[in-house]
Amino acid sequence: MTYIAKPKFHHPGLKKNELGYTHRDYEGKISTLCAGCGHDSITASIIEACYELSIEPHRVAKISGIGCSSKTPDYFLGNSHGFNSVHGRMPSVLTGANLANRDLIYLGVSGDGDSASIGFGQFAHSIRRGVNMTYIVENNGVYGLTKGQFSATADRGSKSKKGVTNTDNAIDLVAIALQLGATFVARSFSGDKAQLVPLIAAAIGHKGASFIDVISPCIAFNNHAGSTKSFDYVREHNDAVNRLDVLVGRDPIAVDYAPGTVQVVEQHDGSKIALRKIDADYDPHDRLGAQTFLARHAAKGQIVTGLLYVDPDAEDLHSHLNTVETPLNTLEADTLCPGSAALDKFNASLR
């Protein structure tokens, strides 16, 4: 743990975004996680993505559960709303907040313990309902805070730091999210910011349930030979299906790739995603295809990363419920309680 505050000085030549902020303005407190933790790289990626999108920090609500991963919202966006909830309960707290104020950008930060064990049901239902959020799982396969027991995402056959082999089957959160109808599903790696930052940016721009599983090596308890979530293992077995660039604003897309290799996806917020195909046969709009692809590669021990599925025409919970555009928390009493005449009219409609 670092005891000094991160110095306020920044590089004199730092670029500023449309709001006049540098990426340093999107930082939070200094991390208290172990040195080298993958989670800190995810934090840095969230900072970078929010900076690039010129997001006003006060328009973001960052919500987490319990665990190493759930501590991280303290380390980014120091000027946004935050709620460090109960273990595994991030999804329901986020759903409630989203229903009350649909105008904020919701960032759910969770871990493999928080989402695949105690909060597995919560995870499933928030995805199933299509809550408009970016759900990030910082997945290291172990319980780091309690010294490295296997978590539910640890691969069967992988070894703990002490040499014990995991005999339980692993939960693949990406596969579950696809199955439950998430409309933006991606997997990435904390050691590959070039891939991760645009994924987070695209997920924030997506309307609906966006889910990103980020493999994030635990330096203290899960970065050894025999682990399948170590820097070395992930680098060796990483199979990226595509790369993407997020394009904000109305700038025309400069396509300098071979024809047929770039696919442009327009998002609800007007931003565009340029997808550069790495695997020519991979179609990110085919949910069933994605599921098969994942299963086939997982069997070969490969970790599929990239934007795995996106539905550009997705809807969210608010559309399903047909709620008003005005955030519910700003509706005044006379709107919420329109009087007996309105009640009579409503009752009459039911007769």
Binding site: K6, P7, K8, S41, T43, A44, G191, F231
Partner: protein, 599 residues
């Protein structure tokens, strides 16, 4: 790019910008840390070894270190390095027992012409080695221009006496009031070596109409200052014009203010910004109600039957040619005459060697300067060495000191029968500063304080007495605050490729975005691909060898705060903070050991 060779002594030396910029290469961050710890005597001794006159330089140095200071690239102002040096001198205990002792003579005799900073540095280096040093000076006391040209309100005699005394007490024979009039005669005295440190003693003339007629009230700046210094001159007219824009002009005008000058003006040919005087000296002059008028070229002294009444100036403006060179051209406005009672001419200094006969074996170049080797400082006569202003024209004290060290080394090598062109490498120590998991032996918490102002004496009191020092110096509290502003640039970030697991922790934590992991390339290409722009190509890139993923680590040294966070956040200890200390070779340094370790 090839992996950076951090074992080359210059690599980390350049990162310590202040030390690299200092001609004497004083280990600045090292002594500033000692000041912060209250170890003033230790801080003083580091300075004394390197620059010989810490108390004097702490008041008068031209501070080449400060424009180089990394802090100046991170915020508005550099660390007040010079005035911290004075702090070490002001608050130290008695250090006489730490000085070298006069040693048994080795039978070799060295003569010195002039008793200024260059000569005294050579004598300090040679006397403890047993050389019999005899210093000749035309003035009664040692110190040269430090004593005669720098006004007492900037540099009190007590400081000069103390620091010249430390040297003379090493058994140096000082012959005051003994001007050397003939090199031939000196050579005939069979000294084993002669060092010429006679300075640049002649003030440049301003030969314009009226100069001869008005001579009684037109004075050459450095001569006048010297005369004031020895008490021969104690007053001047009420209206004074100082011609010239260098530090001597600033000393002249401020001295004139203290000797009765009420309406004192500095008038320069150039623009205000291009003046040679240090910015802080200009500030001090302006603070004492001395206006600085610019773009005025003196064309004649106006006099009434030999009584000076004023100076006429032509108005000029600056024009720049295609190559960006500045020319001063008449602006077309009518000439301006400014009335005055006295004029001080401070338009430059020149060397003068009328006392060196042509057949001494000392050759001169077409500018009448002795031919001196810039590394060894030997002249064409192998027994005669030059240093300070006498060698390469007017510069500052710190240059004289640096050249003195080099000349002393040459003399020592020559008289030991060695080849003087072979210069031993400096000794370098690199050692980890790690104390605990996240603890370092230096204060890595970066201070956000702005530069602290040095307290000045009240102007009314200061102007009353020419011997009253204007600057009061930092007190202990201010010194501590200022010392904390130092970024400890000598505590280096050292990278071990084999330990790195490319987790990006250092990249994420670095407050200055100094670190990038990327594919290798040519330097210009790499500089384009760094995480933050690289506006100073003179600042090195630290490049690792190939990492596991085939990428390299590139660190732009430019604005690194040396906060050590990269090393704190590194899980494998691939980054370490290591203190780099370089011992410049001086006469009598023991042979540097070959076993240097870096990283």
């Amino acid at each position: 790019m090839k992996p950076t060779d951090i074992a080359a002594p210059d690599y980390f030396h350049k990162v310590v910008d202040c030390q690299w910029a200092c001609p004497a290469h004083t280990p600045v961050p090292e002594y500033i840390r000692l000041i912060a710890q209250g170890r003033y005597s230790d801080a003083y001794m580091i300075n004394w070894k390197s620059n010989v006159f810490p108390g004097i330089l702490g008041r008068t140095c031209d501070r080449p270190c400060e424009p180089a200071c990394r802090r100046g690239r991170v915020e508005e102002t550099p660390v007040a390095i010079c005035r911290l040096k004075r702090v070490a001198a002001d608050f130290k205990d008695d250090i006489t027992h730490r000085l070298p002792r006069p040693s048994a003579k080795n039978g070799k005799r060295v003569a010195f012409v002039g008793g200024g900073p260059a000569s005294l540095t050579v004598a300090r280096d040679l006397a403890p080695l047993g050389y019999h040093c005899t210093v000749f000076d035309g003035d009664p006391e040692a110190g040269g221009m430090m004593r005669t040209q720098i006004p007492k309100f900037r540099l009190p005699n007590s400081v000069i006496d103390e620091e010249t005394g430390y040297i003379l007490n090493l058994g140096v024979d000082f012959k005051g009031g003994h001007r050397i009039e003939s090199m031939k005669a000196l050579l005939a005295e069979k000294y084993d070596a002669i060092f010429v440190g006679s300075g640049a003693p002649r003030g440049r003339e301003l030969d314009i109409p009226g100069r001869k007629e008005a001579a009684a009230h037109v004075h050459i700046g450095i001569d006048w200052l010297s005369s004031v210094s020895f008490g021969h001159t104690d007053k001047i007219g009420k209206r004074v014009i100082v011609l010239g824009g260098g530090n001597t002009a600033m000393d002249c005008c401020r001295t004139a203010r203290r000797l009765g000058g009420e309406d004192v003006k500095v008038i320069v040919r150039s623009g205000f910004e291009e003046m040679k005087a240090s910015p802080w000296e200009k500030e001090d002059a302006i603070h004492e109600d001395i206006p600085i008028l610019n773009f005025l070229v003196p064309v004649s002294f106006i006099h009434d039957n030999g009584k000076l009444t004023g100076v006429t100036f032509q108005k000029v403006k600056a024009e720049y040619d295609a190559k960006g060179r500045r020319n001063l051209v008449p602006s077309g406005e009518p000439d301006q005459t400014i009335e005055c009672d006295d004029v001080l001419v401070a338009v430059g200094q020149e060397n003068a060697f009328p006392w060196i006969e042509q057949d001494c074996g000392i050759e001169f170049d077409k500018w009448h300067m002795p031919k001196v080797d810039p590394k060894t400082f030997v002249s064409t006569n192998p027994k005669v060495f030059f240093g300070g202003d006498a060698a390469f024209g007017p510069k500052n004290i710190i240059w004289a000191v640096a050249q003195g060290h080099d000349a002393a080394l040459s003399i020592h090598k020559m008289l030991s029968g060695e080849d003087i062109t072979e210069r031993p490498l400096p000794e370098v120590h690199v050692s980890s500063q790690k104390m605990g998991i996240h603890e370092w032996s230096y204060d890595n918490d970066i201070s956000n304080d702005k530069r602290f102002k040095v307290p000045h004496r009240d102007k009314v009191i200061a102007l009353k007495d020419i011997r009253t020092e204007v600057e009061l110096g930092y007190d202990v509290k201010l010194a501590l605050g200022e010392a904390h502003r130092c970024l400890n640039c000598d505590v280096q970030t050292v990278f071990s490729t084999s330990l790195c697991i490319e987790c990006d922790a250092c990249v994420d934590i670095c407050p200055m975005d100094c670190i990038t992991f990327t594919e290798n390339g040519e330097e210009t290409d790499l500089r384009q691909r760094l995480k933050a722009p690289s506006p100073h190509p003179d600042q090195d890139l630290y490049v690792s060898s190939d990492l596991k993923t085939g990428r390299v680590m590139v660190k732009d040294e430019d604005v690194c705060l040396h906060c050590g966070l990269c090393a704190e956040r590194c899980p494998t200890g691939a980054w370490d903070m290591q203190k780099y200390l370089i011992d410049m070779t001086q006469a009598g340094s023991t042979c540097p050991t070959k076993s240097r370790s870096a990283a």
